[in-house]
């Protein structure tokens, strides 16, 4: 019996992961809901004055998106660990990076991407000028995959631990800082009317780094948690 090709494994894994998430709509809706609710808290907590809100908006939207991604990652591997699918994945005669990468992509497509798509609407609600909204969307679009990958490393290391959720936050939030700084920063730069190309390139570079090395780290993290 010949081993399946990497391409076949990739396609099969991606299909499986997308189906699994799709079958559990809560996994898609909850992060979105969280995102909207948290963004709505800012005008209530700070001030509904338009001028003030617009200043706070980039950071508020970004923090909310970041937290939404982080929360969605908490259970990323739990279901598979409980069902035993995780062990199968690790012992299968295939480089485990491929199914892991497929899982991350599926997760981002159904959680991170929706966040990016409704971010402009939320930005508008926080009184951001319309001209800036596309930059907001692009920044969240470029940032959320990085957040997904880096967060998944933390999720892999904490899978099956008691109070894993809090520990995940402690581990992962410091790692999120650069993406947050540049992501919110590029929107603020656009607000000031300055050119954003350089910062978007930086976000893109971080994304490239995360996507190329991240899945390997996640797979390694899963191995470590399985007792190697």
């Amino acid at each position: 019996m010949s081993a399946p090709t990497l391409g076949a494994v990739w396609r099969a894994s991606l299909r499986r992961e997308l189906t699994l998430i799709w079958r559990s709509p809560a996994d898609i809706v909850q992060p979105l809901f969280f995102f909207v609710v948290v963004v709505s808290l800012f005008p209530l907590a700070l001030s509904p004055k338009p001028a003030l809100l617009a200043l706070v908006a980039p950071g508020a939207v970004w923090v909310a998106a970041l937290l939404a991604v982080m929360l969605s990652l908490d259970g990323l591997f739990r279901r598979d660990q409980e069902s035993g699918a995780l062990d199968l994945l690790l012992t299968a005669p295939v480089v485990s990076v491929v199914p892991v990468a497929a899982k991350l992509l599926a997760h981002w497509l159904l959680t991170g991407l929706p966040l990016a798509l409704i971010a402009p609407l939320l930005g508008y609600m926080l009184q951001l000028p319309v001209a800036v909204l596309d930059t907001l969307m692009v920044s969240v679009l470029l940032g959320t995959p990085t957040l997904t990958v880096v967060g998944a490393i933390g999720a892999a290391l904490t899978v099956g631990l008691n109070r894993g959720g809090i520990l995940l936050a402690v581990l992962v939030l410091p790692l999120y800082v650069p993406v947050l700084v540049f992501g919110a920063g590029v929107v603020r730069t656009a607000l000031d009317g300055l050119p954003t190309g350089g910062l978007l390139a930086v976000l893109g570079a971080i994304l490239a780094l995360a996507v190329s090395l991240g899945p390997v780290a996640v797979a390694l993290g899963l191995r470590i948690s399985a007792g190697d």
Binding site: L157, T158, L161, L167, F182, G185, A217
Partner: protein, 251 residues
């Protein structure tokens, strides 16, 4: 020379040899480090001239800079140890990883506290989100994260390997964080009364600073050796040499 380094590396990889190494080194390492620290601090506090713009509060530098650099070096060392632990699965690298964290975290905290206390008389505020302080705060969180992770996992080898991966990822992050926060601050010029410029620091201030730094780094090394030695004993408690050692000590 490479041969001796290689031999040294292999020998220190053995827990038993490492234990003997600690026994030999610690009795002089601790006094020497304390002496250097004392000399550097007393020189800086009592004898060094005052800084023109900041007044005597600048003397905090003699503990602040050694602590900051120590905290940073410690984390990089943890990253290296983590890499060795993951790639070569060296037991001693796992031990070092665990041993480096607590004192590094303490130094990061010292850096933040002394930085704040230096900032108040200098810039009028205890805290500023400038590049250095923010990076150091993130570094403290990274240290605490490593310690929390090791605490949460019961099996010591799994805990060490998990921490190793986190340390390697963390080191990459430390570099990127530095750039991100520096960029953030170029937007805010603010009252950037720079610290006594690194390159133009006066000789009479440079020497006590360097001596204090040497003293504190050596003290860090001593702390690491003590903790590593304890960890080695704990991990190897079932082995013959540990039992013989303890029995001989009891006699």
């Amino acid at each position: 020379m490479w041969k001796t380094i290689k031999r040294w590396y292999h020998q220190l990889g053995s827990p038993r040899y490492f234990y003997r190494f600690c026994e030999a080194v610690l009795p002089w390492l601790v006094p020497v480090s304390l002496a250097l620290l004392a000399v550097g601090l007393i020189w800086g506090l009592v004898y060094a001239p005052v800084e023109r713009y900041q007044g005597d509060s600048y003397r905090i530098i003699y503990i602040h800079v050694p602590a900051s650099s120590g905290a940073l070096m410690g984390y990089i060392a943890m990253g290296v140890a983590g890499l060795v632990a993951l790639v070569w699965r060296m037991k001693m690298a796992e031990v070092m990883l665990k041993a480096l964290a607590p004192f590094g975290a303490a130094l990061a905290a010292v850096s933040l506290l002394t930085g704040a206390l230096w900032g108040k008389p200098t810039w009028g505020t205890y805290w500023q989100w400038d590049a250095r302080m923010t990076s150091m705060l993130i570094l403290l969180f990274l240290y605490l994260g490593i310690m929390a992770l090791q605490n949460a996992i019961r099996d010591p080898r799994q805990a060490a390997r998990a921490a190793a991966l986190l340390a390697v990822v963390g080191v990459i992050n430390v570099v990127i964080v530095k750039y991100s926060v520096e960029w953030l601050n170029t937007l805010h010029q603010g009252a950037t009364l720079k610290v006594v410029g690194e390159s133009s620091i006066d000789a009479s201030m440079k020497w006590p600073l360097l001596i204090s730094m040497a003293g504190l780094w050596l003290l860090y090394a001593a702390n690491v050796l003590i903790r590593a030695r304890t960890e080695v004993l704990s991990r190897e408690r079932r082995s013959g040499w540990v039992r013989r050692l303890v029995r001989d000590e009891e006699a």
